[in-house]
Symmetry: D2
Subunit: 414 residues, 4 copies
């Protein structure tokens, strides 16, 4: 048994197969992938990694399994899945995931391969655990897969608490001991036991407050957008492909971007937090479906058109169109009067939070500070955005809409 | 200057008139009045006092005034009001306030008298501060009174954070530094500056989550109801009147209840947490307006009728009908696009929270464990409550509806 | 099983006999006895009670037992002892313990009686637990008694962390998870396992820093001395005896002191923090053994002589002579290279901390502010204290010697 | 003014010249240099950077200056120095500093150059601040330089608190508000005001407990030793020199080590925490002065001799001989009875802590797990270490001497 000191859960005990898995390259690599990607450009303290998060998820899985009364090989499988759940991550966490999927054509089989074909697979088999079963649990399959990946999984419990701790933002503080304690199975579904409607609501509230403050903070989004553009350009170079990119860690990617002449300037901007600014920041409610549903190629064309219209270089325009907001947590289930009910049906508050998410849905066009004016007007024309009425202030003056716009307040003022 | 160590704000510096006020009986008395009254029967760690809270409010007022750029005698007045804002409290904080008001016939002039006629008044006058002005600020009068008592006052900022710290419940965690930093005056109103809709929402969320978990937890309400009944009986004795009761502290009141034969049993029950249970716990939506709007005398009559119907002693029945839920904080104001807007208008989330409050509105009838059955049925008859359909489970089986029913889980199970 | 929310350990699960014991008057009474007695006059937030501390000790005992691999009835006994370990406490914790022992002539049999003759005994017997065995464990008897009461017991682990949390003083922060995790039995002694010399040292350091800052802060000592004098006078009245006093809680004692004319003024001073000041504060190194070894009667005579010499009323002088400093923790044992060693032998640091304790040993004479001059000189004469050389500054000018003299800084300046 | 959210100090306000300095490459580069270097291989959460630390030092400097009553251009200089104090750091903080000094022949002039010749110098001059003066303050010159760099500087206050927060180790918790509050100048020296002997002691205690637990943890030392060896080999390659190395950040260095064939294996070991083990871990008290005073070349010769003697490749042996322990903080000064006294003279505890440091002084020889036996015996012969008596266990069995050997417990067991 190994005991590891953690800044969130204090002491984490590592037992069984996890002890061996911990020393693999696949798991140690997570030390070199930050949890929040570019959000640390907003919150300078948020340098925590996927490694400590994976340990945290492992720890909460252990607690949840004990409370659920699950033991033996079943528990060992879930614990292994918890520790390994992030090993398929590309550098900078979710930032360039979509790009890699698009370029490799692979979406789901990556974790299966990683588990089957590496040292990790050998260790699992040595402990009589089947890599495919573990991969299934990581994908949320089966009853027990819900503990690792579902609406009420220990993954989100850990990251909400951990992200709050490291950013210094108080809003993610949830009662994770209560949550893991009240999980129960009901007709094969992982639900919160009777009397926990508000326990469930509090998880949703934390999520809803962390979104604009941290995860979708406009500076997080701008820098993410720049990193995606840079990574795309990197893959256009002949000496690197998407499979290689996927296996890098944050250090590799940042240095690759710095040394490639096509991406060096973007890398410098990201390193020195010399970011693009918002030329447009528009409510999605009035945006045409052509834009919302645009595929990658179309987005690139819009960017080129905007750049041409504004008379700027096309690398100086990024168009950021997030997909429709959803809150996975809102489909979690609670027991009320002996019946399972979907939380969103049961709770006025949760329905309001869903609406709040939709209200915060924003399209962004980003460009260097000196070209925001030109690019803003060009984007309005190219994208057909309204420029009068209530919307105009949003589009052109960048009304701040986030809870804690701290570091960004000045650095990002338009 | 004095520096006081505080478990919430770390070091609190006390300057000017506050130094002298601190040593008065009126302020020191607050050491002996707990902040949360009977909620500490649910949360054993919640033994914090009005004294430390008053220091905290003083501290936040100082910070807010600095940020607002208010100095000199104006600031000194507000700081004095912040430190003194709770000196009119009766023992057990708000629990027996209404009773004292009813019996003394005085509602608003108490703080004025306390400030004018005691050592506190002398000290204020020595510092060229007018007691009546300070009393006005405590009542929220004038522009600066809003800092001490209003929708966005430092009072609620301190108690939400402090109550969360001492109960161990995470939900009250607000970003009070951000809040005091973003306060500003706009057309004479204290509002949150541009870009703080979500800062305001987070305060509301904290309040909405703390209500069922702490402030209106059913064990808090049951014990409060028992304490009110005991205090009422105490005042029926010839040797004590409401004016005396008002000046007591928690020690005096508890010992008075213990030594009076009419109240000794209730005092024992409260001391030993041997509480009444819920005979009825009913949604208020289906309750007749006669009950909702009943005055004190009528409530007493209902209790007597229920007791008679159930064949129990009338001291073994308490009827607890809270008034219509409101959230003061929801009328706070924010600046959006250069205009003041009421938060509830601006925010989907706040409107949902108002609805949540209304959904949680419950009527309770409490009685010793052995008579819940008899009293429950009697109450249904006397109050004309529905006993079939969805409501019945609520009335008779006491579905738990609170976030953290912890200590109560077992002790209070029906 | 019951779950209780605690501000220090978060969720505390209560199982087995503890569930029943929790509801007894003997345990619930601890809600009404503050943990730190008069130290809350220095730290306004330090209002925590023996009840929450007892739950904390129970919780840590459970963890330690699990780590030690102790189960079944043996574990149930220790858990019961942990929960009950403080039920013999008189009001204001240790403050008036000596007085009660002296007046009742009973030192050790109190807990035995309480366990045997009350509802607590019935519950223990119902669970097939022998009250005398539990009393023995509380007294630290036997191998397992060391977990509850010894140099490395869970009692001190809880109070150091809890007192630090509630005072806001950081120095008591120990790694209690590590400590309970590393406990082991070796030749029948409870010791820290190999590799934990510094784990043990850190406990001693915490203790050594908390002593002057909290437990022996001069304001704590002054108010304790005043409370002892008042309690002594109370027992001189015909209507109360030491047995009754012992069974009171803090509320009872404070109100008894307020209502007795002989003690009302001292009670007012304690309630309003209008405390005596130091007339003498002298290093004990130069004090005669006659004073150090003086019994209670002799101390009273010294006080009378000082008062007479100074021409003040005898109730206005208290003489406070603490016994020789010892640090129980310094006799804890650690395993080094496979052998048990006493910590003080092994550790340079621990020997230094013992010396530090001796250096901080101080005699105090306290009196109202207006008579410090007269009483100080009288005490020098009566007690034969040196008044020149290095000592004089200590005696007469009250050099501050504590880490965080915060609230006291001004209120107590001579 | 800019407000930045910090996980330690909550909100940090950045004013004046610091606003412009913040956006320079020299300061932003610190985002990419971890504070603790290789200690994060022991504490997975310890990923904090020199950037957030520099902001913290800036924040505490502001507080200290306010308390010292220093304003205007003098304060602006100190604040600039505080923010800039770490810009001369090479990658991995102090790990490879000595190597760079040796290879460049420059020890002290680096910060001067950085301040004078870069964008930073331009900004300082624009604000009428002289770069040389700022460099002097960073070096601790003059009265005010002591605030930034001295025995009681704000640098160490921030890092003790921050390192404790991020490692999860409680021992670094100091009362930094008290410390910055009690700083004062006395005869041109920065000292702690009267009554703060124990405030000063608590800083020393924190330092003394953090040393073995974090800063000199044997896993920290092993990995540091490996990184130094790898960096030295990197500089032996023709394509990189020490000036370039100095300007790298952590990403650059790690990737450079990974891509150079001579260092790729060491880089892999460091990345995957597949570290060397201790072949020797010996008390320095019995080690010859030839070894203790050996220069770099001699150490390399010892390594080669040990490798040859053991029959292993020379890159598989590192010899780690730390210089004599000193505690800078122990020469801090306090005011006692109106005179300045050196803390070590005044305090029994501080002298004990100095002794503790000396007792913990250890020489290490590290090698891959499979060669510890051979290399251990070879090292004993080559270095002439005693192999009998008490020392032998230390040398060969690696008695653990650290407070929280957590993650290392298993991974590093010999």
């Amino acid at each position: 048994m190994k005991t590891i000191k953690d800044s969130v859960h204090d002491h984490i005990e590592v037992v069984g197969v996890a002890n061996d898995l911990l020393d693999t390259h696949a798991v140690q690599r997570l030390r070199h992938i930050t949890q929040l990607g570019t959000a640390r450009l907003v919150y300078p303290s948020a340098n925590h990694t996927r490694f400590e998060h994976s340990l945290g998820v492992y720890h909460l899985a252990r607690e949840a399994l004990t409370n659920l009364g699950i033991e033996g090989v079943q528990a060992e499988r879930v614990r292994a899945a918890a520790l390994l759940h992030d090993i398929g991550h590309s550098p900078y966490s979710h930032t360039i995931e979509e790009l890699i999927h698009r370029r490799t054509g692979k979406y789901h089989d990556d974790v299966h391969d990683l588990l089957a074909d590496t040292e990790v697979g050998d260790i699992l088999r040595d402990h009589d655990l089947d890599p495919d079963t573990i991969a299934g649990l990581i994908a949320g399959e089966g009853e027990l897969g819900q503990v690792v990946s579902g609406e009420l999984d220990v993954d989100r419990m850990d990251y909400l608490v951990r992200d709050a701790h490291h950013t210094g933002v108080p809003y993610g503080t949830i009662d994770h001991e209560r949550l893991t304690h009240e999980l129960t199975f009901f007709d094969g579904k992982l639900v919160l036991a009777e009397g926990n409607v508000q326990t469930a609501e509090s998880l949703l509230v934390a999520r809803a407050l962390m979104n604009p403050t941290v995860y979708n903070h406009h500076v997080t989004r701008i820098s993410k957008s720049m990193l995606q553009q840079a990574s795309e350009r990197l893959l256009d170079a002949p000496d690197i492909d998407a499979e290689q990119l996927r296996r890098m860690d944050d250090h590799d990617l940042l240095v690759a971007l710095r040394t490639n002449p096509e991406t060096a300037e973007l890398a410098r901007r990201l390193s020195d937090r010399d970011l693009y600014k918002r030329a447009v920041w528009a409510e999605m409610v009035d945006v045409s479906d052509d834009i919302i549903d645009a595929d990658h190629e179309t987005i690139r064309e819009y960017e080129d058109d905007i750049a041409a219209d504004a008379g700027v270089d096309s690398e100086h325009v990024t168009l950021d169109v997030p997909s429709r907001p959803k809150m996975t947590e809102s489909s979690s289930r609670v027991v009320v009067n002996g019946e399972i009910r979907p939380l969103a049906k049961q709770s006025t508050l949760v329905r309001a939070l869903q609406q709040v998410q939709r209200d915060q849905w924003r399209l962004g066009v980003y460009t260097p500070a000196e070209t925001t004016e030109a690019v803003g007007h060009a984007a309005e024309r190219v994208l057909g955005l309204e420029t009068d009425g209530a919307l105009v202030s949003d589009i052109r003056t960048g009304v701040r809409t986030t809870l804690t716009d701290f570091e960004a307040d000045e650095g990002d003022k338009e």
